[in-house]
Subunit: 317 residues, 2 copies
Protein backbone atom coordinates (compact mmCIF):
# COMPACT_ATOMS: atom_id res chain seq x y z
CA UNK A 1 0.00 0.00 0.00
CA UNK A 2 2.85 2.32 0.88
CA UNK A 3 4.35 1.61 -2.52
CA UNK A 4 1.07 2.53 -4.17
CA UNK A 5 0.94 5.91 -2.42
CA UNK A 6 4.48 6.64 -3.46
CA UNK A 7 3.65 5.75 -7.02
CA UNK A 8 0.57 7.94 -6.88
CA UNK A 9 2.46 10.90 -5.45
CA UNK A 10 5.19 10.43 -8.03
CA UNK A 11 2.57 10.32 -10.78
CA UNK A 12 1.05 13.61 -9.60
CA UNK A 13 4.45 15.29 -9.35
CA UNK A 14 5.28 14.24 -12.89
CA UNK A 15 1.87 15.36 -14.19
CA UNK A 16 2.10 18.65 -12.35
CA UNK A 17 5.59 19.20 -13.71
CA UNK A 18 4.54 18.46 -17.24
CA UNK A 19 1.30 20.39 -17.20
CA UNK A 20 2.99 23.49 -15.88
CA UNK A 21 6.22 23.55 -17.77
CA UNK A 22 6.42 20.92 -20.49
CA UNK A 23 8.65 22.62 -23.05
CA UNK A 24 7.99 19.90 -25.64
CA UNK A 25 4.20 19.42 -25.67
CA UNK A 26 4.18 18.07 -29.24
CA UNK A 27 6.52 15.25 -28.28
CA UNK A 28 4.83 12.18 -26.84
CA UNK A 29 6.00 11.25 -23.38
CA UNK A 30 8.34 8.31 -23.60
CA UNK A 31 11.93 7.25 -23.76
CA UNK A 32 13.13 9.69 -26.42
CA UNK A 33 11.55 12.81 -24.94
CA UNK A 34 12.88 11.85 -21.52
CA UNK A 35 16.35 11.28 -22.97
CA UNK A 36 16.42 14.70 -24.63
CA UNK A 37 15.33 16.48 -21.46
CA UNK A 38 17.64 14.43 -19.31
CA UNK A 39 20.54 15.37 -21.61
CA UNK A 40 19.69 19.07 -21.49
CA UNK A 41 19.27 19.05 -17.71
CA UNK A 42 22.52 17.20 -17.21
CA UNK A 43 24.70 19.40 -19.43
CA UNK A 44 23.28 22.67 -18.06
CA UNK A 45 23.63 21.69 -14.39
CA UNK A 46 26.76 23.42 -13.06
CA UNK A 47 27.02 20.74 -10.41
CA UNK A 48 27.14 17.93 -12.96
CA UNK A 49 30.30 16.26 -14.25
CA UNK A 50 28.72 16.55 -17.69
CA UNK A 51 28.23 20.32 -17.53
CA UNK A 52 28.87 22.08 -20.86
CA UNK A 53 29.86 25.77 -20.73
CA UNK A 54 27.31 27.91 -22.54
CA UNK A 55 29.64 28.94 -25.37
CA UNK A 56 30.13 25.26 -26.24
CA UNK A 57 26.41 24.48 -26.47
CA UNK A 58 26.23 24.39 -30.26
CA UNK A 59 23.23 22.71 -31.91
CA UNK A 60 23.02 22.10 -35.67
CA UNK A 61 19.83 21.09 -37.44
CA UNK A 62 19.44 19.91 -40.99
CA UNK A 63 16.52 21.65 -42.76
CA UNK A 64 14.87 19.53 -45.51
CA UNK A 65 13.12 16.59 -43.87
CA UNK A 66 14.32 17.60 -40.42
CA UNK A 67 12.63 20.98 -39.92
CA UNK A 68 10.18 20.97 -42.85
CA UNK A 69 8.96 18.46 -45.47
CA UNK A 70 11.05 17.37 -48.43
CA UNK A 71 8.57 15.53 -50.66
CA UNK A 72 9.10 17.58 -52.80
CA UNK A 73 12.02 19.66 -51.55
CA UNK A 74 10.80 23.25 -51.13
CA UNK A 75 13.79 24.79 -52.88
CA UNK A 76 12.81 22.57 -55.85
CA UNK A 77 9.45 24.35 -56.01
CA UNK A 78 11.30 27.66 -56.03
CA UNK A 79 13.58 26.38 -58.79
CA UNK A 80 10.59 25.55 -61.01
CA UNK A 81 9.06 28.95 -60.22
CA UNK A 82 12.24 30.70 -61.24
CA UNK A 83 12.50 28.62 -64.40
CA UNK A 84 8.96 29.50 -65.45
CA UNK A 85 9.66 33.18 -64.92
CA UNK A 86 12.82 32.94 -67.01
CA UNK A 87 11.01 31.11 -69.82
CA UNK A 88 8.25 33.71 -69.90
CA UNK A 89 10.92 36.30 -70.68
CA UNK A 90 12.98 34.08 -72.96
CA UNK A 91 10.92 31.17 -74.42
CA UNK A 92 13.88 29.74 -76.35
CA UNK A 93 15.27 28.49 -73.03
CA UNK A 94 13.21 25.34 -73.50
CA UNK A 95 15.57 24.40 -76.34
CA UNK A 96 17.87 23.32 -73.51
CA UNK A 97 17.00 19.62 -72.99
CA UNK A 98 17.62 19.94 -69.26
CA UNK A 99 15.10 22.77 -68.93
CA UNK A 100 12.66 21.00 -71.22
CA UNK A 101 12.85 17.90 -69.04
CA UNK A 102 11.88 19.92 -65.95
CA UNK A 103 8.91 21.52 -67.67
CA UNK A 104 7.80 18.19 -69.14
CA UNK A 105 8.29 16.47 -65.75
CA UNK A 106 10.39 13.93 -67.64
CA UNK A 107 11.50 11.64 -64.82
CA UNK A 108 13.39 9.35 -67.15
CA UNK A 109 15.71 12.18 -68.14
CA UNK A 110 16.73 12.62 -64.51
CA UNK A 111 17.27 8.93 -63.84
CA UNK A 112 20.89 9.19 -64.91
CA UNK A 113 23.23 11.36 -62.83
CA UNK A 114 20.45 13.38 -61.16
CA UNK A 115 22.82 15.24 -58.85
CA UNK A 116 24.86 16.86 -61.62
CA UNK A 117 21.66 17.83 -63.39
CA UNK A 118 20.22 19.33 -60.23
CA UNK A 119 23.39 21.37 -59.66
CA UNK A 120 23.20 22.63 -63.22
CA UNK A 121 19.58 23.67 -62.67
CA UNK A 122 20.47 25.44 -59.43
CA UNK A 123 23.15 27.39 -61.27
CA UNK A 124 20.77 28.28 -64.11
CA UNK A 125 18.00 29.53 -61.84
CA UNK A 126 19.81 31.01 -58.83
CA UNK A 127 23.01 32.60 -60.10
CA UNK A 128 24.19 35.12 -62.67
CA UNK A 129 22.40 37.89 -60.79
CA UNK A 130 22.79 40.49 -58.09
CA UNK A 131 22.42 39.07 -54.57
CA UNK A 132 19.62 41.54 -53.78
CA UNK A 133 17.68 40.45 -56.85
CA UNK A 134 17.97 36.82 -55.78
CA UNK A 135 16.78 37.58 -52.26
CA UNK A 136 13.81 39.53 -53.60
CA UNK A 137 12.75 36.53 -55.71
CA UNK A 138 13.04 34.22 -52.71
CA UNK A 139 11.03 36.57 -50.51
CA UNK A 140 8.33 36.76 -53.20
CA UNK A 141 8.26 32.97 -53.49
CA UNK A 142 7.77 32.53 -49.75
CA UNK A 143 4.88 35.00 -49.77
CA UNK A 144 2.72 32.83 -52.02
CA UNK A 145 4.18 29.32 -52.34
CA UNK A 146 1.82 26.51 -51.38
CA UNK A 147 2.95 22.97 -50.62
CA UNK A 148 1.24 20.25 -52.72
CA UNK A 149 0.08 17.54 -50.33
CA UNK A 150 -1.08 19.80 -47.51
CA UNK A 151 -2.29 22.71 -49.59
CA UNK A 152 -0.78 25.12 -47.08
CA UNK A 153 1.73 27.97 -47.38
CA UNK A 154 5.22 26.49 -47.16
CA UNK A 155 6.00 28.94 -44.37
CA UNK A 156 3.46 27.12 -42.18
CA UNK A 157 5.15 23.76 -42.57
CA UNK A 158 7.81 23.89 -39.87
CA UNK A 159 7.50 20.72 -37.79
CA UNK A 160 6.00 21.88 -34.50
CA UNK A 161 7.95 19.39 -32.34
CA UNK A 162 11.17 20.73 -33.84
CA UNK A 163 10.40 24.43 -33.34
CA UNK A 164 9.59 23.52 -29.72
CA UNK A 165 12.89 21.68 -29.46
CA UNK A 166 14.82 24.64 -30.95
CA UNK A 167 13.18 27.04 -28.50
CA UNK A 168 13.83 24.65 -25.61
CA UNK A 169 17.51 24.36 -26.52
CA UNK A 170 17.86 28.15 -26.84
CA UNK A 171 16.14 28.66 -23.48
CA UNK A 172 18.88 26.43 -22.08
CA UNK A 173 21.71 28.47 -23.55
CA UNK A 174 22.25 26.53 -26.78
CA UNK A 175 23.09 28.41 -29.95
CA UNK A 176 20.93 26.88 -32.70
CA UNK A 177 22.15 26.64 -36.30
CA UNK A 178 20.76 25.31 -39.54
CA UNK A 179 23.26 23.19 -41.46
CA UNK A 180 21.60 22.06 -44.66
CA UNK A 181 22.14 21.12 -48.27
CA UNK A 182 19.76 23.92 -49.26
CA UNK A 183 21.48 27.05 -50.49
CA UNK A 184 22.31 29.48 -47.76
CA UNK A 185 20.64 32.69 -49.00
CA UNK A 186 17.40 30.85 -49.82
CA UNK A 187 17.02 29.54 -46.28
CA UNK A 188 18.08 32.84 -44.73
CA UNK A 189 14.90 34.46 -46.01
CA UNK A 190 12.73 32.40 -43.63
CA UNK A 191 15.06 31.07 -40.94
CA UNK A 192 14.27 33.77 -38.39
CA UNK A 193 10.54 33.83 -39.01
CA UNK A 194 10.02 30.05 -39.12
CA UNK A 195 12.65 28.75 -36.68
CA UNK A 196 13.90 31.75 -34.70
CA UNK A 197 17.35 31.20 -36.25
CA UNK A 198 19.09 34.40 -37.38
CA UNK A 199 20.78 34.69 -40.79
CA UNK A 200 24.27 34.44 -39.42
CA UNK A 201 23.45 31.03 -37.94
CA UNK A 202 22.43 29.53 -41.27
CA UNK A 203 25.00 27.26 -42.94
CA UNK A 204 24.25 25.80 -46.34
CA UNK A 205 25.39 25.15 -49.87
CA UNK A 206 26.67 28.25 -51.61
CA UNK A 207 27.66 29.73 -54.94
CA UNK A 208 30.77 31.76 -55.64
CA UNK A 209 30.23 35.44 -54.92
CA UNK A 210 32.00 38.39 -56.50
CA UNK A 211 32.13 41.95 -55.17
CA UNK A 212 31.41 44.23 -58.10
CA UNK A 213 33.48 47.25 -57.03
CA UNK A 214 33.33 50.41 -54.96
CA UNK A 215 30.92 52.30 -57.21
CA UNK A 216 28.33 49.64 -58.01
CA UNK A 217 28.95 48.17 -54.53
CA UNK A 218 27.06 44.89 -54.57
CA UNK A 219 27.54 41.11 -54.50
CA UNK A 220 27.13 39.19 -57.73
CA UNK A 221 26.21 35.51 -57.71
CA UNK A 222 28.61 33.73 -60.07
CA UNK A 223 27.59 30.68 -62.10
CA UNK A 224 29.70 28.36 -60.02
CA UNK A 225 29.16 26.23 -56.93
CA UNK A 226 31.29 27.30 -53.96
CA UNK A 227 30.40 24.51 -51.53
CA UNK A 228 27.91 21.68 -51.30
CA UNK A 229 26.81 21.37 -47.70
CA UNK A 230 25.79 17.72 -47.71
CA UNK A 231 27.32 14.51 -46.35
CA UNK A 232 31.07 15.16 -45.74
CA UNK A 233 30.41 18.80 -46.65
CA UNK A 234 28.50 19.32 -43.39
CA UNK A 235 31.38 18.79 -40.93
CA UNK A 236 33.56 20.84 -43.28
CA UNK A 237 31.17 23.78 -43.28
CA UNK A 238 30.58 23.53 -39.53
CA UNK A 239 34.34 23.77 -39.00
CA UNK A 240 34.54 26.78 -41.32
CA UNK A 241 31.52 28.71 -40.03
CA UNK A 242 31.51 27.82 -36.33
CA UNK A 243 34.96 26.40 -35.60
CA UNK A 244 33.56 23.97 -33.03
CA UNK A 245 31.95 20.56 -33.06
CA UNK A 246 28.26 20.68 -32.13
CA UNK A 247 26.96 18.88 -29.04
CA UNK A 248 23.42 18.44 -30.37
CA UNK A 249 22.64 17.45 -33.96
CA UNK A 250 19.36 16.73 -35.74
CA UNK A 251 19.13 15.08 -39.13
CA UNK A 252 16.81 12.76 -41.02
CA UNK A 253 16.56 9.56 -43.00
CA UNK A 254 16.49 9.90 -46.75
CA UNK A 255 19.88 10.10 -48.40
CA UNK A 256 22.41 9.64 -45.64
CA UNK A 257 23.17 13.35 -45.86
CA UNK A 258 23.30 13.95 -42.12
CA UNK A 259 25.26 10.95 -40.89
CA UNK A 260 28.68 12.67 -41.13
CA UNK A 261 27.45 15.74 -39.21
CA UNK A 262 25.93 13.54 -36.50
CA UNK A 263 29.07 11.46 -36.20
CA UNK A 264 31.22 14.64 -36.21
CA UNK A 265 29.52 15.79 -33.02
CA UNK A 266 30.55 12.55 -31.32
CA UNK A 267 34.18 13.68 -31.57
CA UNK A 268 33.35 16.48 -29.16
CA UNK A 269 35.00 16.19 -25.76
CA UNK A 270 31.66 17.20 -24.22
CA UNK A 271 28.58 14.98 -23.91
CA UNK A 272 26.59 15.04 -27.14
CA UNK A 273 23.25 13.95 -28.51
CA UNK A 274 22.00 13.08 -31.98
CA UNK A 275 18.46 12.65 -33.29
CA UNK A 276 17.61 11.14 -36.66
CA UNK A 277 14.06 11.81 -37.88
CA UNK A 278 12.46 8.78 -39.53
CA UNK A 279 9.62 9.55 -41.92
CA UNK A 280 7.23 6.75 -41.04
CA UNK A 281 3.96 8.61 -40.97
CA UNK A 282 2.19 8.22 -44.31
CA UNK A 283 -1.05 9.63 -42.92
CA UNK A 284 0.08 12.89 -41.32
CA UNK A 285 3.20 13.49 -43.44
CA UNK A 286 5.10 10.99 -45.62
CA UNK A 287 6.51 7.51 -45.38
CA UNK A 288 9.84 6.90 -47.04
CA UNK A 289 13.15 5.24 -46.38
CA UNK A 290 16.58 4.77 -47.90
CA UNK A 291 17.10 1.92 -50.35
CA UNK A 292 20.16 0.71 -48.44
CA UNK A 293 18.95 1.73 -44.97
CA UNK A 294 22.27 3.53 -44.48
CA UNK A 295 21.19 6.23 -41.98
CA UNK A 296 19.31 3.79 -39.75
CA UNK A 297 22.21 1.35 -39.86
CA UNK A 298 24.60 4.12 -38.85
CA UNK A 299 22.20 5.19 -36.10
CA UNK A 300 22.39 1.69 -34.69
CA UNK A 301 26.17 1.51 -35.07
CA UNK A 302 26.89 4.90 -33.50
CA UNK A 303 24.01 5.25 -31.09
CA UNK A 304 22.03 8.08 -32.72
CA UNK A 305 18.48 8.44 -31.36
CA UNK A 306 15.84 7.65 -33.98
CA UNK A 307 12.67 9.78 -33.96
CA UNK A 308 9.57 8.02 -35.20
CA UNK A 309 7.33 10.80 -36.52
CA UNK A 310 4.37 8.46 -36.09
CA UNK A 311 5.06 7.46 -32.49
CA UNK A 312 7.16 10.27 -31.00
CA UNK A 313 5.27 13.29 -32.29
CA UNK A 314 1.65 13.91 -31.31
CA UNK A 315 1.36 16.61 -33.95
CA UNK A 316 3.43 17.36 -37.01
CA UNK A 317 2.69 21.02 -37.90
CA UNK B 1 27.91 86.63 -16.61
CA UNK B 2 24.82 84.43 -17.09
CA UNK B 3 26.48 82.91 -20.16
CA UNK B 4 29.56 82.14 -18.13
CA UNK B 5 27.56 80.26 -15.52
CA UNK B 6 25.80 78.26 -18.20
CA UNK B 7 29.15 77.39 -19.75
CA UNK B 8 30.50 76.40 -16.34
CA UNK B 9 27.51 74.20 -15.54
CA UNK B 10 27.72 72.60 -18.98
CA UNK B 11 31.41 71.96 -18.44
CA UNK B 12 30.74 70.21 -15.14
CA UNK B 13 27.96 68.11 -16.61
CA UNK B 14 30.22 66.98 -19.44
CA UNK B 15 33.09 66.24 -17.02
CA UNK B 16 30.83 64.39 -14.62
CA UNK B 17 29.39 62.38 -17.48
CA UNK B 18 32.81 61.45 -18.78
CA UNK B 19 34.38 60.67 -15.44
CA UNK B 20 31.54 58.40 -14.44
CA UNK B 21 30.77 56.59 -17.60
CA UNK B 22 33.27 57.29 -20.36
CA UNK B 23 33.22 53.99 -22.25
CA UNK B 24 36.22 55.02 -24.38
CA UNK B 25 38.80 56.39 -21.91
CA UNK B 26 41.75 55.61 -24.21
CA UNK B 27 40.27 57.78 -26.94
CA UNK B 28 41.12 61.47 -26.67
CA UNK B 29 38.12 63.75 -26.46
CA UNK B 30 37.57 65.39 -29.79
CA UNK B 31 35.60 65.24 -33.01
CA UNK B 32 36.13 61.55 -33.79
CA UNK B 33 35.28 60.21 -30.33
CA UNK B 34 32.20 62.44 -30.26
CA UNK B 35 31.16 61.23 -33.71
CA UNK B 36 31.44 57.57 -32.72
CA UNK B 37 29.39 58.08 -29.56
CA UNK B 38 26.88 60.27 -31.31
CA UNK B 39 26.42 57.54 -33.96
CA UNK B 40 25.93 54.82 -31.35
CA UNK B 41 23.47 56.94 -29.34
CA UNK B 42 21.52 57.86 -32.43
CA UNK B 43 21.13 54.34 -33.85
CA UNK B 44 20.21 52.78 -30.49
CA UNK B 45 17.60 55.40 -29.60
CA UNK B 46 14.20 53.88 -30.34
CA UNK B 47 12.80 57.38 -30.75
CA UNK B 48 15.29 58.29 -33.48
CA UNK B 49 14.62 58.13 -37.21
CA UNK B 50 18.05 56.50 -37.47
CA UNK B 51 17.26 53.67 -35.07
CA UNK B 52 18.78 50.32 -36.11
CA UNK B 53 17.10 47.14 -34.82
CA UNK B 54 19.46 45.12 -32.66
CA UNK B 55 19.76 42.19 -35.08
CA UNK B 56 21.02 44.60 -37.76
CA UNK B 57 23.79 46.07 -35.61
CA UNK B 58 26.66 44.19 -37.23
CA UNK B 59 30.21 45.49 -36.71
CA UNK B 60 33.19 44.04 -38.58
CA UNK B 61 36.80 44.78 -37.60
CA UNK B 62 39.91 43.97 -39.55
CA UNK B 63 42.60 42.39 -37.34
CA UNK B 64 46.21 43.09 -38.50
CA UNK B 65 46.92 46.79 -38.05
CA UNK B 66 43.37 47.47 -36.83
CA UNK B 67 43.24 45.44 -33.61
CA UNK B 68 46.91 44.54 -33.16
CA UNK B 69 50.25 45.52 -34.79
CA UNK B 70 51.29 44.29 -38.22
CA UNK B 71 54.99 45.26 -38.41
CA UNK B 72 55.65 42.35 -38.67
CA UNK B 73 52.34 40.56 -39.11
CA UNK B 74 51.89 38.19 -36.15
CA UNK B 75 50.83 35.26 -38.30
CA UNK B 76 54.17 35.75 -40.10
CA UNK B 77 55.97 35.09 -36.81
CA UNK B 78 53.95 31.93 -36.41
CA UNK B 79 54.79 30.91 -39.98
CA UNK B 80 58.54 31.20 -39.27
CA UNK B 81 58.09 29.27 -36.03
CA UNK B 82 56.31 26.47 -37.86
CA UNK B 83 58.95 26.44 -40.57
CA UNK B 84 61.77 26.09 -38.04
CA UNK B 85 59.98 23.22 -36.35
CA UNK B 86 59.53 21.49 -39.71
CA UNK B 87 63.19 21.98 -40.64
CA UNK B 88 64.35 20.56 -37.31
CA UNK B 89 62.54 17.34 -38.22
CA UNK B 90 63.42 17.41 -41.92
CA UNK B 91 66.55 19.53 -42.63
CA UNK B 92 66.40 18.92 -46.38
CA UNK B 93 63.43 21.30 -46.54
CA UNK B 94 65.92 24.14 -46.92
CA UNK B 95 66.68 22.80 -50.41
CA UNK B 96 63.45 24.54 -51.36
CA UNK B 97 64.59 28.05 -52.45
CA UNK B 98 61.42 29.58 -51.02
CA UNK B 99 62.06 28.14 -47.57
CA UNK B 100 65.75 28.99 -47.80
CA UNK B 101 64.85 32.61 -48.56
CA UNK B 102 62.73 32.85 -45.40
CA UNK B 103 65.46 31.41 -43.19
CA UNK B 104 68.09 33.65 -44.82
CA UNK B 105 65.77 36.69 -44.55
CA UNK B 106 66.43 37.19 -48.27
CA UNK B 107 64.28 40.25 -48.99
CA UNK B 108 65.35 40.37 -52.62
CA UNK B 109 63.84 36.93 -53.25
CA UNK B 110 60.47 38.24 -52.11
CA UNK B 111 60.58 41.44 -54.14
CA UNK B 112 58.95 39.71 -57.08
CA UNK B 113 55.39 38.43 -56.66
CA UNK B 114 55.47 38.39 -52.84
CA UNK B 115 51.79 37.47 -52.51
CA UNK B 116 52.05 34.18 -54.39
CA UNK B 117 55.14 33.29 -52.37
CA UNK B 118 53.41 34.12 -49.11
CA UNK B 119 50.42 31.96 -50.07
CA UNK B 120 52.77 29.11 -50.87
CA UNK B 121 54.45 29.50 -47.48
CA UNK B 122 51.08 29.54 -45.73
CA UNK B 123 50.16 26.29 -47.46
CA UNK B 124 53.52 24.70 -46.56
CA UNK B 125 53.34 25.61 -42.87
CA UNK B 126 49.63 25.52 -42.06
CA UNK B 127 48.07 22.71 -44.09
CA UNK B 128 48.49 19.01 -44.78
CA UNK B 129 47.58 18.23 -41.20
CA UNK B 130 44.70 17.44 -38.88
CA UNK B 131 42.79 20.55 -37.76
CA UNK B 132 43.36 19.68 -34.10
CA UNK B 133 47.12 19.45 -34.67
CA UNK B 134 47.11 22.88 -36.30
CA UNK B 135 45.15 24.41 -33.44
CA UNK B 136 47.50 22.91 -30.89
CA UNK B 137 50.49 24.51 -32.66
CA UNK B 138 48.75 27.88 -32.73
CA UNK B 139 47.84 27.66 -29.04
CA UNK B 140 51.47 26.79 -28.22
CA UNK B 141 52.70 29.74 -30.29
CA UNK B 142 50.44 32.18 -28.47
CA UNK B 143 51.66 30.93 -25.10
CA UNK B 144 55.23 32.07 -25.70
CA UNK B 145 55.45 34.37 -28.75
CA UNK B 146 57.00 37.77 -28.08
CA UNK B 147 56.64 40.75 -30.42
CA UNK B 148 59.96 42.28 -31.58
CA UNK B 149 59.68 46.03 -31.08
CA UNK B 150 57.81 45.99 -27.79
CA UNK B 151 59.35 42.85 -26.33
CA UNK B 152 55.95 41.82 -25.01
CA UNK B 153 53.79 38.70 -25.44
CA UNK B 154 51.77 39.11 -28.65
CA UNK B 155 48.64 38.38 -26.64
CA UNK B 156 49.16 41.67 -24.77
CA UNK B 157 49.22 43.75 -27.95
CA UNK B 158 45.54 44.37 -28.57
CA UNK B 159 45.07 48.12 -29.09
CA UNK B 160 43.37 49.30 -25.89
CA UNK B 161 41.19 51.93 -27.62
CA UNK B 162 39.86 49.21 -29.93
CA UNK B 163 39.04 46.70 -27.19
CA UNK B 164 37.18 49.54 -25.46
CA UNK B 165 35.35 50.29 -28.69
CA UNK B 166 34.42 46.62 -29.20
CA UNK B 167 33.08 46.40 -25.63
CA UNK B 168 31.20 49.67 -26.06
CA UNK B 169 29.57 48.46 -29.27
CA UNK B 170 28.59 45.15 -27.68
CA UNK B 171 27.15 46.95 -24.65
CA UNK B 172 24.95 48.76 -27.16
CA UNK B 173 23.66 45.61 -28.80
CA UNK B 174 26.14 45.34 -31.66
CA UNK B 175 27.41 41.93 -32.71
CA UNK B 176 31.16 42.30 -33.22
CA UNK B 177 33.04 40.27 -35.84
CA UNK B 178 36.62 40.01 -37.00
CA UNK B 179 36.94 40.07 -40.79
CA UNK B 180 40.60 39.74 -41.65
CA UNK B 181 43.11 38.47 -44.18
CA UNK B 182 44.62 36.30 -41.42
CA UNK B 183 43.58 32.67 -41.57
CA UNK B 184 40.45 31.90 -39.65
CA UNK B 185 41.58 29.09 -37.33
CA UNK B 186 44.72 31.00 -36.34
CA UNK B 187 42.76 34.02 -35.13
CA UNK B 188 40.12 31.88 -33.46
CA UNK B 189 42.65 30.70 -30.90
CA UNK B 190 42.88 34.19 -29.34
CA UNK B 191 39.78 36.10 -30.50
CA UNK B 192 37.75 35.45 -27.34
CA UNK B 193 40.58 36.07 -24.91
CA UNK B 194 41.97 39.20 -26.59
CA UNK B 195 38.87 40.84 -28.07
CA UNK B 196 35.86 39.13 -26.49
CA UNK B 197 34.91 37.85 -29.96
CA UNK B 198 33.76 34.20 -30.04
CA UNK B 199 35.06 31.75 -32.64
CA UNK B 200 31.89 31.75 -34.68
CA UNK B 201 32.25 35.52 -35.21
CA UNK B 202 35.69 35.25 -36.78
CA UNK B 203 35.82 35.55 -40.56
CA UNK B 204 39.14 35.14 -42.34
CA UNK B 205 41.12 33.51 -45.10
CA UNK B 206 40.73 29.75 -45.18
CA UNK B 207 42.10 26.54 -46.62
CA UNK B 208 40.08 23.70 -48.10
CA UNK B 209 38.95 21.26 -45.44
CA UNK B 210 38.19 17.58 -45.88
CA UNK B 211 36.22 15.36 -43.51
CA UNK B 212 38.19 12.16 -43.12
CA UNK B 213 35.30 9.77 -42.54
CA UNK B 214 33.08 8.29 -39.85
CA UNK B 215 35.75 6.21 -38.14
CA UNK B 216 38.70 8.62 -38.01
CA UNK B 217 36.18 11.49 -37.66
CA UNK B 218 38.26 14.63 -38.02
CA UNK B 219 38.90 17.60 -40.34
CA UNK B 220 41.99 17.54 -42.53
CA UNK B 221 43.52 20.79 -43.78
CA UNK B 222 44.15 20.36 -47.51
CA UNK B 223 47.07 22.02 -49.31
CA UNK B 224 44.80 24.44 -51.12
CA UNK B 225 43.49 27.93 -50.43
CA UNK B 226 39.70 28.06 -50.07
CA UNK B 227 39.25 31.84 -49.80
CA UNK B 228 41.43 34.92 -49.39
CA UNK B 229 39.63 37.34 -47.13
CA UNK B 230 41.23 40.55 -48.32
CA UNK B 231 40.10 43.48 -50.50
CA UNK B 232 37.09 42.28 -52.58
CA UNK B 233 37.23 39.04 -50.60
CA UNK B 234 35.98 40.82 -47.48
CA UNK B 235 32.49 41.79 -48.70
CA UNK B 236 32.24 38.33 -50.27
CA UNK B 237 33.02 36.56 -46.99
CA UNK B 238 30.76 38.89 -45.01
CA UNK B 239 27.90 37.99 -47.36
CA UNK B 240 28.64 34.28 -46.96
CA UNK B 241 29.16 34.19 -43.19
CA UNK B 242 26.73 36.86 -41.98
CA UNK B 243 24.38 37.49 -44.89
CA UNK B 244 24.05 41.17 -43.99
CA UNK B 245 26.00 44.35 -44.65
CA UNK B 246 27.67 45.69 -41.50
CA UNK B 247 26.75 49.11 -40.11
CA UNK B 248 30.08 49.69 -38.39
CA UNK B 249 33.43 48.82 -39.97
CA UNK B 250 37.00 49.32 -38.79
CA UNK B 251 40.03 48.94 -41.04
CA UNK B 252 43.48 50.43 -41.43
CA UNK B 253 45.89 52.04 -43.83
CA UNK B 254 48.57 49.82 -45.30
CA UNK B 255 47.53 47.89 -48.39
CA UNK B 256 44.04 49.06 -49.20
CA UNK B 257 42.75 45.74 -47.90
CA UNK B 258 39.79 47.20 -45.98
CA UNK B 259 38.42 49.75 -48.43
CA UNK B 260 35.96 47.34 -50.08
CA UNK B 261 34.58 46.19 -46.72
CA UNK B 262 34.16 49.79 -45.56
CA UNK B 263 32.46 50.82 -48.77
CA UNK B 264 30.27 47.68 -48.66
CA UNK B 265 28.77 48.86 -45.38
CA UNK B 266 27.72 52.11 -47.05
CA UNK B 267 25.29 50.12 -49.20
CA UNK B 268 23.35 49.33 -46.03
CA UNK B 269 19.90 50.91 -45.84
CA UNK B 270 20.67 51.78 -42.21
CA UNK B 271 23.02 54.53 -41.01
CA UNK B 272 26.60 53.31 -41.01
CA UNK B 273 30.02 54.34 -39.77
CA UNK B 274 33.56 53.55 -40.91
CA UNK B 275 36.86 54.13 -39.17
CA UNK B 276 40.24 53.82 -40.89
CA UNK B 277 43.22 53.56 -38.54
CA UNK B 278 46.23 55.56 -39.73
CA UNK B 279 49.58 54.42 -38.36
CA UNK B 280 51.21 57.79 -37.71
CA UNK B 281 52.78 57.16 -34.33
CA UNK B 282 56.43 56.18 -34.78
CA UNK B 283 57.14 56.63 -31.08
CA UNK B 284 54.42 54.53 -29.47
CA UNK B 285 53.78 52.11 -32.34
CA UNK B 286 54.77 52.49 -36.03
CA UNK B 287 54.61 55.08 -38.75
CA UNK B 288 53.83 53.80 -42.22
CA UNK B 289 51.64 54.64 -45.17
CA UNK B 290 50.66 53.33 -48.60
CA UNK B 291 52.84 54.20 -51.59
CA UNK B 292 49.80 55.40 -53.55
CA UNK B 293 47.82 56.71 -50.56
CA UNK B 294 44.86 54.66 -51.78
CA UNK B 295 43.05 54.06 -48.48
CA UNK B 296 43.28 57.69 -47.37
CA UNK B 297 42.15 58.87 -50.80
CA UNK B 298 39.16 56.55 -50.62
CA UNK B 299 38.45 57.75 -47.08
CA UNK B 300 38.23 61.27 -48.41
CA UNK B 301 36.10 60.23 -51.38
CA UNK B 302 33.62 58.11 -49.43
CA UNK B 303 33.66 59.85 -46.08
CA UNK B 304 35.35 57.21 -43.90
CA UNK B 305 36.58 58.55 -40.54
CA UNK B 306 40.37 58.51 -40.23
CA UNK B 307 41.83 57.63 -36.82
CA UNK B 308 45.19 59.21 -36.07
CA UNK B 309 46.85 56.86 -33.60
CA UNK B 310 49.03 59.74 -32.50
CA UNK B 311 46.26 62.25 -31.89
CA UNK B 312 43.11 60.23 -31.25
CA UNK B 313 44.47 57.58 -28.89
CA UNK B 314 45.95 58.55 -25.52
CA UNK B 315 47.31 55.05 -25.08
CA UNK B 316 47.98 52.27 -27.56
CA UNK B 317 48.16 49.07 -25.50
Amino acid sequence: MKKFYFALIFFFIVCAGYSQTDPLPSWNNGHLKTSIMEFVNRVTDTGSQDFIPEEERIATFDNDGTLWPEMPVIQGLFLIDQLKKMISVNPSLTDNPLIKAVIDKDKEYFAEDPETKLMELLVITMTNMDEMEFEKSAVEFFKTAVYPKFNKPVTELAYKPQTELLAYLRANGFKTYICSGGTIEFMRQISEQMYGIPRNQVIGSSFKYRYTGLDSNYIFREEEINSICDKEGKPVNIQLFIGKRPVFVAGNVRSGGDVAMMRFSQGNKYPNFQILVNHDDAVREFEYSEPDNYSLNMAKKYGFNVVSMKNDWNRIF
